[in-house]
């Protein structure tokens, strides 16, 4: 009984939760890269992003966590799946992995990893609690529409470009088939 009770202390539970979330992220990332079925890859991505949302919960911002789920899992991954569902029947054999492609992917992946870790290790991180004690939804909203106004708008621009691209591509496809 006592051993169970020591396990369900808040800080122990938090540790277990954190370990679980990290395991989820890593497992999701592995599934996103290794299996040959592209649907598995996207499902892995979803598991990974759900884990990232878990990290936000761990950091005490359920709002951002839920936005992560709503946008990345709900919108982006679902539209990726929707696109690939029409791509390949289950019973067809898979194309082989090409070595140059794998090498290129590995190279780019390593380069991004090195760059990111260099940036992360050089930045002096201040805990969020030190910078401000108020991270409510209202504050985040105010920041987005005042200080980070430009970033916010640029993100919408990216989405606009994506929408236009989709329209143009589907327009071409339609004209070429009909």
């Amino acid at each position: 009984m006592n051993s169970v009770q020591s396990l369900i202390q808040p800080h122990v539970l938090a540790q277990i939760g954190f370990a679980g979330v990290v395991a989820l992220i890593l497992a999701g990332a592995l599934i996103a890269v290794f299996p040959r079925s592209i649907l598995y890859n996207v499902l892995g991505l979803i598991v990974c992003l759900t884990g990232v949302a878990g990290i936000f919960v761990y950091l005490g911002s359920p709002f951002i966590a839920l936005m992560e789920l709503l946008i990345y899992v709900g919108a982006i991954c679902i539209s990726i799946i929707f696109a690939i569902m029409l791509s390949r029947p289950l019973h067809l054999s898979l194309p082989k992995r090409r070595l140059p492609k794998v090498g290129l992917a590995l190279g780019v992946g390593t380069a991004v990893f090195i760059m990111l870790s260099a940036i992360i290790s050089r930045t002096e991180w201040q805990p969020a609690a030190m910078r401000s004690s108020d991270w409510s939804v209202t504050t985040l909203g105010t920041y987005l529409l005042t200080r980070y106004d430009l970033v916010f708008e640029v993100i919408s621009l990216v989405l606009l470009v994506a929408i236009l691209g989709a329209i143009i591509i589907s327009g071409y496809a339609r004209r070429s088939t009909s």
């Binding site: 369900i8 991954c77 019973h91």
Partner: protein, 334 residues
């Protein structure tokens, strides 16, 4: 009471709340599905001038229990050409958002498992997994009817989520909170349905579409797709899809009650009655569910292009306009 005290001492107040709450939710989900399946068959029967189930128990009320026992005892068939892992994952995944969503639904002033300040967002964020499960189930079945059903389900869900979220946004702007209890509290004078009837109508239409119910049930249109995404599922796996569908009906109706119909508050003018809040809440919720059933058995199924046109050309523009107008009005009032 002693056992209760022991439990609280053992788990601590927070965990006790969650554990007891989840057990309660599981019980509610089962009982609700049993009742709703019976109700649906009765409503359908009476609309079609039949009687419906009447043999098992008074008014056939025990019929679904018997059906449930049959489903539990049936063999779980896994067809040979399916993708086994995903095929088994789908019925489980379809159930996850159901459990999570009930955590933030305020059945009464006190009866809410966790009153998060982003409660409304939680429900919509996790409703994604429902679509995902439908997709995975349809794809893993490796059957063209299932796949078509799944593709239709996603196209429909993605499209109807936009006007749904836009109308919910106007409610959130009005009550100035994403917290379910505060949204109810903001309706203490006037229910939102009287103050923004268009939003309520759009919400109810989109909610019907999100739960894949007729006239929006093209993902499982029987006459075209056998049973859509769950064609290959049998026994309890099929029952889980079914259970999730009826629980989702309860969730969307409960959210509608919270957002537009004053939550646990009494009907206007009946506040003097000594009725606890949760009874008002369930009364309103089940009236909404009854309306959804009424609609289902009254209107014919839409064609797919009609469905998409209706969403993209009518619902989304109206919802956007509604949001802009109400944003202006709320700004002027304040």
């Amino acid at each position: 009471m002693a056992a209760w005290q022991n439990l609280v001492n053992f788990l601590g107040p927070d965990l006790t709340r969650i554990v007891v709450g989840l057990v309660g939710v599981l019980a509610l989900v089962q009982v609700n599905a049993l009742f709703l399946v019976w109700l649906e068959r009765k409503v359908a029967a009476h609309i079609q001038l039949r009687i419906g189930p009447k043999e098992v128990g008074p008014f056939g009320i025990l019929q679904t229990i018997v059906d449930g026992i049959k489903l539990v005892s049936k063999e779980l068939i896994t067809p040979r050409h399916v993708d086994r892992k995903l095929f088994m994952l789908a019925p489980i995944a379809v159930f996850l958002p159901v459990l999570v969503s009930f955590v933030v639904i305020p059945f009464s002033e006190r009866l809410i498992i966790r009153d998060m300040n982003v409660g409304l967002l939680l429900i919509f964020a996790f409703s994604t997994f429902n679509v995902l499960a439908v997709l995975v189930g349809g794809w893993a079945s490796n059957n063209k009817y299932s796949l078509l059903g799944a593709v239709r389900a996603v196209a429909q869900n993605v499209a109807y989520e936009i006007p749904l979220l836009l109308t919910v946004l106007s409610v959130v702007m009005w009550s100035n909170s994403l917290q379910m209890s505060e949204i109810v509290a903001s309706q203490s004078k006037v229910w939102n349905v009287f103050w923004m009837p268009v939003a309520a109508l759009i919400y109810l239409i989109c909610a019907t579409a999100e739960t894949n119910r007729a006239p929006f049930d093209i993902p499982e249109a029987e006459s075209e797709l056998v049973a859509g995404f769950h064609t290959e599922y049998s026994g309890m796996r099929f029952a889980l899809f079914f259970l999730a569908e009826y629980s989702n009906m309860l969730i969307v109706a409960a959210v509608a009650t919270t957002l537009f119909f004053g939550g646990w508050k009494s009907f206007p003018g009946l506040g003097f009655l000594p009725v606890p809040g949760w009874i008002w809440f369930f009364a309103k919720t089940y009236v909404l569910i009854f309306v959804a059933m009424w609609v289902r058995w009254t209107f014919p199924r839409l064609r797919f292009d009609q469905l998409m046109n209706f969403c993209w050309k009518i619902m989304i523009p109206v919802a956007l306009l509604h949001l802009i107008v109400y944003a202006g009005v709320i700004k002027i009032i304040n």
